[in-house]
């Protein structure tokens, strides 16, 4: 007779049925929703709250991203937000009592044109003024840090240098979600999967409940953390968001010996590459140009990305693609997120993180929880208000964020 299977490991969270009413409901069980719930419970003592997820936990962008974490953004507002997140990343494994393999192996952003070089040097200067660790590397230093990079100048987009942030790196995204979920559960937060929000109950302009496929649930407050589906939820609530949802793809190769010591990104040729702990090469592409909710993108985008990757890393030429997949990212026109109040009373929104919100997960949760609990933004997210599209106080991070992460 075959040996008995080992016992199933303990579940990290329970699967409670929704209660009739909560003090706050978070819509979306990705990283941002879970982090928000965690900080609501931990920093603001709000434990009678629920996270509603239409599918399974972290089944959206959270476990589809390429896990790059960095804080070298250009403007003061973004540097403050992302650096706050990076500092939290450094302490969260201990705080959440979960080693999600945050690896500070550094991130390099390549420059391929004179325009890139100037923009990158400007960004390094701005970063240093904001206390963000940033350096400019010439091509020889690039090669020393990442020997598999081709720095010859006879390729289509030669490497003319790079910015480098040593404290940046990667983490295991699904474990990050589980780490937050376990702590949320311990603190009394209800994590409710397979619960899709289909509408809102309002009293005048004030939200008082959410309609779901598992019934109507009353709530004092609602926080939207639905990433690519934010516009759909806003429309249900009766307001608009300046967001366009696009497919964004990534892929992995089969497992290889460790060959790639850091993370390399190139905005110009739309590719970013790291090697996961197990050995897969993890690569991300640019978005498909059209709006899409299909969680899949076009093959020509991948083809373009692979061409660039193979030119930059000639040793990848014989690696095989193992899996490709796509997510739905919520882009804004200034490539910065929206975290704050909405035109609907007691409803708050965290969205617009687009192609690069994994790195922001801790500070999105931290500042959004503050906003929900107190009804007003934290000083870190105040500039990221929805109103900036009306006042014109945009935070243009296309140089630092554009396609990249």
């Amino acid at each position: 007779m075959a040996d008995k299977l080992p016992e199933h490991p303990d579940f990290l969270w329970h699967n409670p049925d929704p209660k009739p009413s909560y003090d706050a409901i978070i819509v979306g069980g990705g990283g941002h929703g879970l982090a928000t719930a965690y900080f609501l419970a931990k920093n603001h003592g709000m434990t009678n709250i629920a996270v509603l997820e239409k599918g399974w936990l972290a089944g959206g962008n959270m476990a589809r991203n390429t896990t790059i974490i960095r804080s070298n953004y250009l403007w003061d507002e973004s540097a403050a937000m992302y650096e706050h997140a990076l500092k939290l990343w450094e302490t969260l494994p201990e705080e959440l009592e979960y080693d999600f393999l945050f690896s500070q192996r550094g991130v390099m952003n390549l420059a391929h044109t004179l325009g890139d070089v100037r923009e990158s040097m400007r960004r390094v200067g701005a970063n240093q003024l904001n206390g963000v660790d940033a350096e400019w590397l010439d091509p020889k230093q690039v090669k020393e840090l990442c020997p598999i990079l081709n720095i010859s100048d006879n390729i289509r987009y030669p490497v003319m240098g790079a910015t480098y942030q040593p404290r940046a790196g990667i983490a295991k995204h699904d474990h990050v979600a589980w780490a937050f979920a376990r702590k949320c559960d311990e603190l009394g937060v209800d994590i409710i999967q397979n619960c899709e929000v289909t509408g809102f109950v309002k009293d005048g302009n004030r939200v008082t409940g959410v309609k779901t496929n598992r019934g109507t649930i009353n709530t004092e407050k609602v926080g939207l953390c639905a990433a690519g589906h934010s516009s759909v939820l806003a429309e249900m609530a009766g307001f608009r968001l300046p967001i366009q949802s696009h497919p964004l793809q990534a892929l992995v190769s089969e497992l290889h010996e460790p060959v790639h010591p850091t993370v390399v990104m190139s905005n110009h040729v739309h590719v970013y590459v790291s090697q996961a702990h197990k050995g897969e090469l993890v690569m991300g592409a640019g978005v498909d140009s059209y709006n899409g909710y299909g969680q899949r993108g076009s093959f020509h985008v991948i083809e373009h990305q692979m061409a660039a990757a193979v030119e930059l890393f000639p040793i990848f030429a014989r690696a095989h693609v193992l899996r490709t997949w796509g997510g739905v990212v919520d882009t804004t026109l200034d490539a910065s997120p929206i975290v704050g109040t909405t035109p609907v009373e007691n409803m708050f929104v965290n969205c617009g993180w687009g192609t690069g919100g994994f790195k922001g997960t801790p500070s999105a949760g931290y500042t959004f929880a503050h906003t929900i609990a107190t009804g007003a933004p934290h000083e870190l997210n105040a500039p990221f208000a929805l109103e900036r599209f009306e006042t014109g106080a945009l935070i243009d991070e296309h140089g630092a964020a554009a396609v990249a992460h």
Partner: protein, 138 residues
């Protein structure tokens, strides 16, 4: 990769085209009278429809002409292709995606004087969509 039927050139790979975002968003008629809120709407707010979406495409490496397309943003199914300036047709999901051939579309740059050449029998009655004000071209 989408296979897109340019009204002038016929079926071509998506890589020959450039995406132009939501269709039927007219330039404000009285720009100097707009409030900041209205400017914000015009500059930064576009529909982000999950489902049938009217959008503009440019055949940038072909005839270099703009045209409109009705496409499902979940299945990516192309439901109609019609000239600039024509009102948004009703989606017809029975039609194959490549019915909008050159012979059916007179001039993709028309600005509203020519009716939607593909709408008459193929697409059923054109519905006056709220998002398609008269004379909207860009």
């Amino acid at each position: 990769m989408l296979l897109i039927s340019c009204p002038n050139c016929g079926s071509r790979d998506e890589t020959e085209f450039h995406y132009g975002g939501q269709a039927h968003v007219p330039y404000p008629e009285n720009p100097d009278e707009l409030t900041d809120r209205q400017w914000a709407e015009f500059l930064f707010y576009r529909d982000n429809t999950k489902g049938s979406f009217a959008e503009r495409w440019l055949h940038s490496t072909g005839c270099r002409q703009w045209f409109n397309m009705l496409r499902d943003t979940v299945t990516y199914d192309i439901q109609a292709i019609y000239p600039m300036g024509a009102p948004r047709p009703a989606p017809n999901t029975d039609q194959p995606a490549d019915f909008g051939t050159a012979s059916l579309a007179p001039d993709s740059t028309t600005t509203g004087t020519t009716g939607p050449s593909v709408a008459s029998t193929d697409l059923g009655p054109a519905e006056p969509a709220a998002t398609a004000p008269k004379g909207a071209t860009q």
